[in-house]
């Protein structure tokens, strides 16, 4: 074991998932946190570091009665939790804290105690994107995609296949919001949201949360659960405005984050048994597979259509059903991390047999940010 490795020793989602009209945002954070502490056999007084996004780490710490020596409020969208894991690993190694709690909670559907989604008209986005009628993510995250499709000779059918195959995974997950099988025709006939995106190519909007607890690998063996080790990490940020992406066919932030994670883990793509790619919309797994280096540019759609990422395929992807079918509260990255941890613990509803290495890749904002965590159930 490398002397400075770090492990997940507690992991849990909120008790309920989907539609939770009787709990506010801060209560969802706390519910997930208490579940993760129970999972790790810890009390709030055992936690000396906190990290969260959406709410302030100050709110989180005080609500739970934690008096931390470390606080991280990095907030770059849905992949913030990947960045929290990365920063927590560095903090534990530097002695800033011993046991760090990372939480997420969001009342995405019920909007209980939730903030707004506004941009100042004097911000760059307020000046150079909002005047043209963008609304919520379906009209922003999707803007580069027609260029991607034209560049590689693809069509909306290729987007539909992503949703179809992820629904197959969701069917195996009792907690998934959407479990009924769908076909490519179902996707292409679902209501138009923002051409070329139809309803079933867009993520769900649900309530829920999750929490992780990390500590040093040498302490991790004394916890009740089998440790899940952090092998490698990466992060990057690109642009607050989707119209200013460096390349509409590729995420520069994905490439930088993924490369760093693979380098620090010291693994190759062939070593990966399980993969999560944050799928707020159906194009994200395509960009992710290519920008992480699993597929060559333009080849991810065929890779998915040929069932390589499906049940029984060589690279199981988004095995919880993803943001498209499992759940999506707004900042989905925490749920991708939870599924990677479940797969490494061997307790996922759609468990990948003998999986030893899981790559968990997140996006924040509209291609604004990225974080990548590589986990293993074997000590590094």
């Amino acid at each position: 074991m490398k002397p400075k490795s770090v492990a997940v020793v507690g992991a849990a989602e909120t008790t309920r998932m989907g539609k939770i009209p009787d709990q506010s945002v801060i209560a969802l954070h706390a519910d997930a946190a208490l579940n993760a502490m129970a999972d790790a056999g810890l009390k709030p007084s055992d936690i000396d570091g906190v990290a969260t996004a959406g709410i302030s780490p100050v709110e989180l710490a005080h609500y739970l009665g934690i008096k931390p020596t470390y606080a991280d409020g990095t907030s770059v969208g849905g992949c913030s939790f990947m960045l929290h894991v990365r920063h927590a690993a560095a903090a534990i190694n530097a002695g800033l804290a011993k046991t760090i709690l990372i939480t997420h909670g969001e009342s995405g559907r019920s909007r209980v105690g939730a903030g707004g989604f506004g941009r100042s008209p004097s911000s760059l986005m307020g000046q150079f994107e909002m005047p043209y009628g963008v609304t919520t993510p379906p009209t922003m995250f999707t803007v580069p995609v027609l260029r991607y499709l034209k560049t590689y000779g693809l069509s909306e059918e290729d987007l539909a296949w992503v949703a179809v195959i992820q629904r197959e995974w969701a069917a195996k997950n009792p907690r998934a919001s959407m479990k009924d099988p769908i076909t490519v025709d179902d996707v292409l006939n679902s209501p138009m949201i923002a051409w070329p995106f139809r309803l079933l190519m867009c993520c769900l909007v649900t309530d829920g949360g999750g929490a992780l607890i990390l500590t040093s690998a040498d302490r991790a063996k004394d916890f009740p659960r089998k440790p899940v080790y952090v092998l490698g990490t990466g992060e990057s940020v690109e642009t607050p405005m989707v119209s200013q992406m460096y390349d509409f066919t590729s995420s520069t932030a994905f490439k930088i984050s993924g490369k760093k994670a693979f380098e620090t883990a010291g693994i190759s793509h062939a070593d990966v048994d399980h993969l999560m790619i944050y799928d707020a919309f159906a194009h994200l797994p395509l960009y992710g597979l290519e920008d992480l280096g699993f597929c060559k540019p333009g080849e991810a759609a065929a890779f998915i259509r040929e069932r390589n990422t499906a049940i029984g395929g060589k690279l199981p992807l988004n095995t919880n059903g993803g943001g498209l079918s499992y759940m999506h509260s707004g900042m989905y990255g925490m749920y991708a991390l939870q599924e990677s941890v479940r797969q490494m613990r061997g307790i996922a509803p759609a468990q990948v047999p003998d999986a030893k290495i899981s790559v968990c890749h997140g996006v924040g904002g509209m291609f604004a940010a990225s974080g990548t965590i590589i986990f293993s159930n074997e000590a590094p």
């Binding site: 150079f128 043209y132 379906p138 803007v143």
Partner: protein, 135 residues
């Protein structure tokens, strides 16, 4: 219909919005490396040089990508509209709307030539929209 969401210029972007009001699409470029860039800022994002100049761009470009929003924002009316990105002849990309053109996938072909079409909103703010360029 509520009034359209409009930009509030800052000191660093004022020249751009003044230009639109006066019928000019203004970009900036670096005096040292000649890189044209957008959105406005008082230094070159490629080399960090603070010596930059504002110039009148050609107003020409091509349709780079878009979506057609079928759930219109209340201030944008009731019909689906394209949220488009134009790739300017000078290099930068810019979000915009396409005018004088049906808002359909058939009419909106990627790489079609576009030219700027200024749309006055208030005494201060004019938006740079784009229309199909006449052959």
């Amino acid at each position: 219909m509520p009034p359209r969401m409009l930009p509030e210029p800052t000191p660093e972007t004022r020249h751009f919005w003044d230009g639109c009001r006066e019928g000019e699409l203004r970009l900036q470029r670096c005096v040292a490396c000649t890189e044209s860039y957008f959105p406005p800022r008082p230094f070159c994002p490629k080399c960090g040089n603070r010596e930059v100049e504002v110039y009148k761009a050609s107003g020409q470009g091509v349709l780079w990508s878009y979506v057609i929003n079928h759930r219109p924002r209340p201030d944008m009316g009731t019909e689906p509209y394209a949220i488009a990105v134009v790739k300017l002849a000078e290099g930068p990309t810019m979000m915009t709307n396409i005018v004088d053109c049906p808002q359909t996938p058939e009419a909106l072909q990627l790489d079609m030539p576009l030219k700027v079409s200024f749309s006055k909103q208030t005494d201060d703010i004019t938006l740079p929209l784009f229309a199909p360029a006449q052959g």
